[in-house]
């Protein structure tokens, strides 16, 4: 069953009366439990697509159904609630809060959820364990390495039991070894049933997923399954 379904999705930015098309009609669907990469050079529209898929932006035209539903009539507060409950985000720049512990960073989404406060820590701790950072639980984010920071960000994306995790160039700021650990973490989560949408411009990274959607100039170039899927080594639990 399709979790994400887009049909003829278009997005045009208007700046000072000049129209710049970013997406010019994209259609695909992503099923529950899939690990999909969206690839393309810069300017291909992949970030725009991610923002629309992640309810951070709205399309100009076309249809986007998440769980069979469109969000066309939703207010920004309702979208914030949906982002909080259904989606997890991992960014290239980690975006952790400084001077804040790993645990507190991870439980941040719960602050904005309706969840009872006494369950926050337990849930956050579980997410931290899932990314293999239990021993770093009470360290401040600034004391962590880049790879560890990104794993904290992944734990934060997990904590609210998101239906899909959007990872935007998650290895872009990391050395290859740390990047390997991140890909391993994502593959591991995917194995546990999480749907993952990865944005990247590197073929090598994209080949860790099951399927690659390639964009170019706002149009879909290809949508192909990965034949020889890479399995990340350097598992964090090793």
């Amino acid at each position: 069953m399709a979790l994400i379904e887009v049909k003829d999705l278009r997005k045009t930015y208007v700046n000072d009366g000049v129209e710049t098309p970013a997406l010019r009609g994209v259609s695909f669907s992503i099923g529950k439990g899939e690990f999909v990469s969206i690839m393309g050079p810069s300017g291909s529209g992949k970030s725009t697509l991610l923002h629309i898929l992640g309810f951070l932006d709205r399309q100009t035209s076309g249809v986007y159904k998440f769980n069979q539903k469109t969000i066309d009539g939703y207010s920004s507060d309702e979208l914030a609630k949906l982002r909080n409950e259904k989606m997890g985000f991992v960014f290239q720049m980690f975006n952790l809060l400084p001077r804040t512990t790993v645990l507190d960073n991870v439980l941040l989404p719960l602050v904005y959820s309706g969840l009872e406060e006494n369950q926050w820590e337990q849930k956050a701790a579980k997410a931290v364990e899932q990314v293999g950072l239990a021993h770093r639980m009470n360290h401040e984010s600034s004391q962590l390495s880049g790879g560890e920071k990104q794993r904290v960000a992944i734990a934060r994306a997990l904590v609210n039991d998101a239906e899909v995790i959007f990872a935007d160039e998650p290895t872009g700021n990391l050395d290859s070894k740390s990047g390997e650990v991140i890909m391993d973490t994502l593959q591991n989560l995917n194995k546990m049933g999480h749907t993952i949408v990865l944005i990247t411009h590197e073929t090598y990274t994209a080949e860790h997923s099951q399927r690659i959607i390639r964009l170019k100039d706002g149009l879909m170039e290809s949508d192909t399954p990965v034949k020889n899927r890479r399995i990340a080594n350097g598992h964090f639990t090793k």
């Binding site: 923002h51 992640g54 951070l56 932006d57 920004s76 507060d77 914030a80 609630k81 982002r83 909080n84 409950e85 997890g88 985000f89 960014f91 720049m93 975006n95 809060l97 400084p98 001077r99 804040t100 941040l108 989404p109 602050v111 904005y112 959820s113 406060e117 934060r156 609210n160």
Partner: protein, 414 residues
């Protein structure tokens, strides 16, 4: 988002930049300190003045010549007005005119100096009834005795002196029975008052009391009075007695229009009311100055909050991405600025109270002023309220700025 957690987030935000936080609230601290200081000292000063006024007694009614002073020229008019005479005193003494009155004591003030054997001193010379001083202020000489009604009728040249006057002219030797000179006229000292300090509106220690008739005839050459002090039988009768006095004096002066009264009446309650109005006006003026300083402090807060919002653009973007609504962000930054200014308020209140206490100690212990330290509850409530309000008002713009940020733009911010 729950408010409790909002507080936590805001506190964390403030702790992140302690020295900047401290500098930012300095303006608010100074403003609130000023509020507390003004209100605490103002209250103390008012109590001091009021306690002096209360010393004159609730049933005391003072009649002065001239128009009620409302400006400098009116005061001059009062000094030179000759509208109160012995005819008025006689009229007031008639029970049928003013039934509530028990005492009528006219008096004059003489400016000049006294001398004894080459020693000269400039005291406060009053022409009054010594018997009235006993009744009115419970003032009786420790040496010698007072002069009586007969002395007043005969215009005797007798005087009672205060302790300071005695010390200045006689040192340790006896004063009673000696003759002092006032304006070339010799006065025999019949009594010396004990040290009493400031009483009602004059300093007893600095006093030379002589019969008012003597002062009128031989020292001033006038037949009017500078003041008539009267007393109602009880404080409850004051209002009625004041009206009776007004009617009696208007009749005696042929005045029909109360606007043209050539005398005015001062009561303790009237003075208390007046002092309250004066101090209130003064306080209001100071409050305005303080308000300006708080606005300046508030602009500082706004400035720093804007800087903070810009610095934390990515944090705002992240919070929005993971589910914070615009309202959550607004609340977070508003709470931050309100916490900031409230902390400034609390510090300001503490400093203000400390300074006020220090000043009170100096005034009462070292300068011997009968000063009482008061904790201005209203000032504290006002200080807390105002500091919080400053945070709310000046935090609103930065907080809205933060809340309206586009999450995509904010996440990209470098």
């Amino acid at each position: 988002m729950q408010l409790k957690h909002g507080f936590k987030i805001a506190l964390n935000g403030l702790q992140a930049n302690k020295s900047r936080t401290a500098l930012t609230i300095l303006g608010i601290v100074i403003g609130i300190t000023a509020i507390i200081l003004v209100m605490s000292l103002g209250e103390g000063a008012r109590e001091l003045i009021l306690s002096e006024v209360r010393g004159m007694g609730a049933e005391t009614i003072v009649i002065r010549p001239g128009r009620e002073p409302k400006g400098p020229t009116d005061i001059a008019e009062t000094v030179f007005s000759d509208s109160l005479t012995s005819r008025d005193v006689d009229a007031l003494r008639l029970k049928s005119n003013v039934p509530g009155l028990v005492d009528v004591a006219p008096g004059v003030i003489v400016t000049g100096s006294v001398s004894y054997l080459g020693e000269t001193y400039k005291p406060f010379i009053l022409g009054w009834s010594a018997e009235f001083m006993v009744d009115f202020l419970d003032l009786y000489p420790e040496d010698g005795e007072i002069f009586y009604e007969s002395d007043i009728r005969q215009k005797s040249s007798v005087a009672i002196i205060g302790s300071k006057v005695k010390e200045e002219l006689f040192g340790d030797s006896d004063a009673v029975g000696q003759n002092i000179t006032i304006k070339d006229r010799k006065f025999r000292i019949v009594g010396a008052y004990p040290p009493r300090g400031q009483l009602a509106f004059f300093n007893v220690d600095d006093l030379v009391l002589i019969p008012y008739t003597t002062a009128q005839s031989y020292l001033l050459g006038i037949d009017h009075y500078h003041e008539i002090i009267t007393r109602a039988a009880s404080p409850d009768l004051v209002d009625q007695t004041v009206r009776d006095i007004e009617l009696t004096l208007r009749e005696s002066h042929n005045i029909t229009d109360p606007e043209k009264d050539d005398f005015f009446i001062v009561t303790q309650q009237g003075l208390v009311d007046q002092i309250k109005i004066i101090t209130q006006t003064f306080t209001a003026f100071l409050a305005l100055v303080v308000a300006i300083s708080l606005v300046v402090g508030g602009i500082g807060i706004m400035n720093i909050m804007l800087v903070s919002v810009t610095e934390r653009t990515r944090e705002i973007g992240l919070r929005k991405a993971i589910g914070a609504t615009n309202r959550d962000i607004l609340t977070q930054f508003l709470l931050e600025s309100v916490l900031l200014t409230s902390a400034g308020g609390v510090i300001g209140i503490a400093i203000g109270l400390g300074l006020s206490l220090g000043i009170s100690v100096v005034l009462s212990q070292f300068l011997g002023i009968n000063w009482e330290f008061s904790i201005p509850i209203a000032g504290i409530v006002l200080g807390l309220g105002v500091s919080g309000l400053v945070g709310l008002i000046f935090g609103l713009y930065p907080a809205r700025h933060a809340a309206r940020k586009d999450p995509i733009e904010a996440l990209r911010y470098e």
